[in-house]
Amino acid sequence: MTAGTAALERAALQPAALEFRRLGKSYLPGHPVLHEIDLAIQGQGLTAIIGPSGTGKSTLIRCVNRLVEPSSGQILLDGEDLTALRGRALRLARRRIGMVFQEYNLVERLTVIENLLCGRLGYVGAVAAWLRRFPQTDIDRAFELLDAVGLSAFAKTRADSLSGGQRQRVGIARALMQQPRLLLADEPTSSLDPKTSVEIMGLMQGLCEARGIPVIVNMHDVELAKRFASRIIGMSGGRVVFDGAPAALTDEHLKQIYGGEGWLE
């Protein structure tokens, strides 16, 4: 056994550790969206990133699984620098990072169970995937997760006939199919009504806590963040301006994050 795999196995016993080191991103040269972000997220629990639209929250979490290419700095997951990975190594890293999207991003023409099994595509070869020959353990896990998110009756329903809340449940189950070390959620409730938003946040928090998976969620809704998060990170203008427990988040902080104060009362 090499030193590298030994380190990975040791890490697997502990909750994941994610660290941003001086992470910067500019879509246009000279117009940075993220200014040298330094953050460490260790252990389980739900971390909420709040901040106004266009402040780089989405960019920040998309840099983790490299759906967006960082311009500078490093992101370490269990000590491995994700920004340096290419090709196969990047795909192997992505397998360990689940992601939930604002618009669910389900494959519309596939069934619910096929969408769940998409979460295993990092482990299955192309021929087996084409013939839908997934290992029985994957299929069993898919049905277990379907039970857990309350959609057992919809296994063979096509994703495009589900409601928004149902779709996001499928999105969460798909991400958990990966058995990820870390779950990223990019505004998972922004397209949902308030009641469904609470249900989805509760479901995501509960399932991940039971599995010891840390969750990083981008969101707009401050009250929802306070209710479910164990830690809140406030961003403004591409910088972290608040980092602490929900109880420590005051109106002063919110003014600093969102600017102005008329909207507070």
Binding site: R94, R132, R174
Partner: protein, 276 residues
Amino acid sequence: MSAPGSTAPAPGASRAAFSPNWLGRAGWLALLLYCIYAASLLDVTWSRFVIGLDQGAKFLDRMFPPNFSRWEAVLKGMKESLEISVLASVAGILISLPIGVMAARNLMPGWVSWPARALIAVCRTFHPVIVAIIFVKAVGFGALAGILALVIASIGFIGKLFAEAIEEISLKQVEAVRATGASFMNVILFGVLPQVFPRFIGFSTYQFDSNVRNSTMVGIVGAGGIGAPLFVAFQRFDYDVVCAILLAIIAVVFCCEILSNQVKKVFGEQRVAASG
């Protein structure tokens, strides 16, 4: 008389809501003049048309009743045409799948998509008959030349439309599949193909219909199929045999269109599952 301080024209002078498009009018006039010139040059006149009608009546008279006495040759030619079109369609569809994916600019970098697009453009440049002539010269008379010609035509058509269909897909679904760590092939299989499969079936069945029609024609230049006996019958002025062959072609094309519609019903709105 005009209102003070206004730039309105004097009373009586009307203001135009539409400015004249002189360039457009000149274009229409030029087209009209060219049509008259071309018609005069090619002897397209009413008297010539009347002579043609007379000839046409004699031709139609000699076509009926259709002569099926050489039915064995017609059947053999028709079978060969059908074989050419099925083989060319299968090969053309299979080849145009990867080429279409490679030509999609939203999935592929420029150095992959441009050569693929160039290949498709070359395949579309020439009419199948010209391609058939080239292949008859290259590989000799017979069905092989016809099959190759129609494979080229299929790649040109399906490849282009398939690439365009892929360029219109939702990249959100692709992004989600990519985020799971799926390999490129798995991203294509689960993120891309489900979105375009029904349209791909549509293009393929359309091209099959088109190949059936074209397969009856490539024989005229010696590339196999019913076209050869048809051409010979024309040359011998056996118009009743011509009529029999044309009726056979109509029957086959009609049957194939019914078959295509059935294929579309079965596969068109279904997913790519191999199990079906």
